[in-house]
């Protein structure tokens, strides 16, 4: 015990197992090579959806998993991102590459404005308040004539593929790479966050706010920081999704279903764990897409039935998510001494 105390030191970021590093490198290379292995566009679409939802769920994971605040209206930031790129492209012709950052900034500002009054609330009050905020955004955008009110915005199509306008009509492959890069960047940043001082402080706020307060951690400030980070992760996915489908309306991008699915993916995969959202998305999105193909089409909401059922089953039987099946020492990547 004494030995351990003497040798204990701040854990360097790269003090990880060589095997796992090479495994991750291999997977990343595989992901980059994947479109060239003869996947048809359905599978590319599936992969794009997995990347997108993994990042969206990761965004929710930052606020709910790390800092313990349950937001039921996270779709609002998705919608802000989607509207930022589309609006600036339609009105002023600004390239989506620039307005993605507008979206990030706007949703960061929105998160600060929402967060300052609301993060003083906790538990159920915060959850209900965010549910109301999410719906309020939908109501406001449905009636805001500047952004097309209920009919939404149609992004004018370019004549061919264009990297500048971020529109590709012939193949899904460029979209695949764009989403993949955003996915990798986000997961890398959140992984660093989870191991940083900030990450530890957020978890302290989640686990015991009073103890955290007694250690001079300003609880509400850290909650706001987590909320802003989370909102900023969500916004670019909205922007990219808008570029992917090229038509947005309030019912689609502010839909409560978005808030539901990020929660579902995270809880399914494992809340509070960096890799939970990825696992959850990789399992849930194929189920959802396939159930839509084989069981949908009659107006029935079979995929939603599955969502609800899975969510209840996970809550009852595996509250820590599917990632809790994976042995802990692999996940934490600590050197076993």
């Amino acid at each position: 015990m004494n030995d351990k105390l003497l040798t204990a030191q701040a854990e360097p970021l790269w003090n990880t197992d060589k095997k796992i590093i090479s495994l991750i490198a291999g997977i990343v290379l595989l992901l980059f090579a994947l479109p060239h292995l003869g996947l048809n566009s359905f599978y590319l679409h599936l992969m794009i959806m997995i990347f997108m939802h993994a990042v969206m769920a990761q965004s929710w994971n930052v606020i709910a998993g790390f800092s313990g605040q349950i937001s039921l209206g996270h779709g609002a930031f998705f919608g802000i991102g989607a509207y930022a790129t589309s609006f600036f492209y339609v009105q002023y012709g600004i390239s989506p590459w620039i307005s993605i950052f507008f979206g990030i900034i706007f949703s960061g500002i929105a998160a600060v404005l929402i967060g300052i009054p609301m993060l003083r609330l906790s538990g159920h009050y915060f959850a209900i308040a965010t549910l109301l905020i999410g719906i309020s955004f939908q109501v406001v955008f449905q009636r805001w004539d500047l952004v097309g009110a209920a009919s939404g915005l149609w992004v004018p199509m370019t004549s061919g593929d264009s990297w500048l306008a971020l529109q590709f009509h012939t193949s899904k492959m460029p979209y695949y790479y764009v989403f993949l890069v955003f996915f990798l960047i986000t997961f890398y940043l959140v992984w660093i966050l989870s191991r940083s001082k900030l990450g530890f402080r957020l978890r302290a706020v989640r686990d015991d706010p009073q103890a955290a307060l007694s250690l001079c951690i300003n609880v509400s400030n850290y909650k706001i920081i987590a909320y802003v980070i989370s909102a900023m992760i969500m916004a670019p996915m909205g922007s990219l999704f808008a570029q992917y489908i090229l038509i947005i309306d309030p019912d689609r991008v502010f839909n409560i279903e978005i808030s539901i699915i990020v929660l579902l993916i995270t809880v399914l995969g494992g809340i509070g764990n960096v890799w939970g959202p990825l696992l959850g998305a990789a399992i849930l999105i194929p189920i959802s897409e396939y159930s839509r193909i084989y069981l949908g089409g009659t107006g029935g909401a079979v995929d939603l039935i599955l969502y609800g059922l899975i969510l209840m089953l996970i809550c009852v039987f595996r509250p820590d998510g599917l990632i809790s099946f994976v042995p802990k020492n692999i996940l934490e990547r600590k050197k076993q001494r």
Binding site: L72, L121, H124, A127, L132, S136, V139, R143, L264, I310
Partner: protein, 288 residues
């Protein structure tokens, strides 16, 4: 903008408010008892409206007479919810509890969509129809009867909880589950009773609203949101708070719609919620 129109809005708001109050009372009872917010409350309301509708459409029972059956069905539904889901998450983290009832709400709503399609339905030619004219104010008869029934049910619920032995046992369990168990009050049974009564209230509100409201699978969402707001406004776990909060919400909704802009009705109610929870987090009558 004459005073008659404002008076009309106040009356409409009051009538709606009493219905919100009863729905919220069911939610508040369950929350006070076991610290679980039933996020599927709106879906339970939808089920009760559908139960009323199907009893009318299949057996020809008018919604006003099928109320007892609807209450019974909803009480059974409450006990089943407790038995199959809530029982297992009593000790879980709050996050898991929220997710579980949220999952239940998605599940019920989409099953209903699959079975009954998202069509709008309504009960044709119910016994309660027409309107009264008092002075210059028009009052829809079904709305009036619905709100009165809700008020009576609310008073009955209040008396039950504060005066009867079972009600006192419920309160004891709400205050301290373990102490109550030591005194021989089985908390599991109390929870089941709480769910049965909570959803029974929803059954009354839903059954009465089936007389005049459109019945569709998403009908519960707005009512549930207002019920959440009413519960937070009145103070989580306070039943009498729900009555005042429900009436406040009804009035804000109808007066705000009249005086400012009806398309933002929801937002006024949300604004009230935010103001109250920020400045008085325990609500108007909260215990916590």
């Amino acid at each position: 903008m004459t005073s008659e129109i404002i008076l009309q809005a106040i009356v409409t708001g009051l009538m709606m408010g009493l219905i919100y109050a009863l729905i919220a009372a069911g939610l508040s009872l369950i929350f006070g008892l076991m610290d679980i917010v039933n996020f599927a409350h709106g879906e339970h309301l939808m089920l009760s409206m559908f139960s009323s509708f199907w009893l009318w459409s299949l057996f020809g029972i008018d919604p006003i007479f099928s109320i007892p059956i609807t209450i019974l069905l909803m009480a059974i539904c409450g006990i089943l919810t407790h038995y199959f889901l809530i029982r297992y998450i009593l000790k879980a983290k709050m996050l898991i509890q929220i997710c579980a009832t949220f999952g239940l709400s998605i599940f019920i709503r989409s099953i209903a969509q699959l079975l009954w399609t998202p069509d709008f339905r309504n009960v044709e030619n119910p016994l309660l129809e027409g309107r009264l004219e008092i002075g210059s104010v028009f009052i829809g008869q079904p709305q009036l009867i619905a709100s009165l029934v809700c008020l009576v049910a609310f008073i009955a619920l209040y008396l039950f909880v504060t005066k009867t032995e079972t009600g006192l046992a419920l309160q004891a369990t709400a205050q301290d589950r373990h102490a109550a168990e030591i005194l021989g009050i089985p908390s599991n049974k109390m929870f089941a009773i709480g769910w049965a009564i909570g959803l029974g209230c929803v059954g009354i509100a839903g059954g009465m609203m089936a007389n005049y409201f459109f019945i569709f699978t998403d009908v519960g969402i707005n009512f549930a949101l207002f019920a959440f707001v009413a519960v937070a406004l009145g103070g989580f776990g306070s039943i009498i708070g729900c009555l005042y909060a429900g009436i406040i919400i009804g009035l804000v909704e109808s007066l705000g719609g009249l005086l400012i802009d009806p398309s933002f009705k929801l937002l006024y109610v949300f604004a009230i919620y935010l103001l109250v929870v920020i400045y008085k987090p325990q609500g108007l009558f909260g215990r916590y």
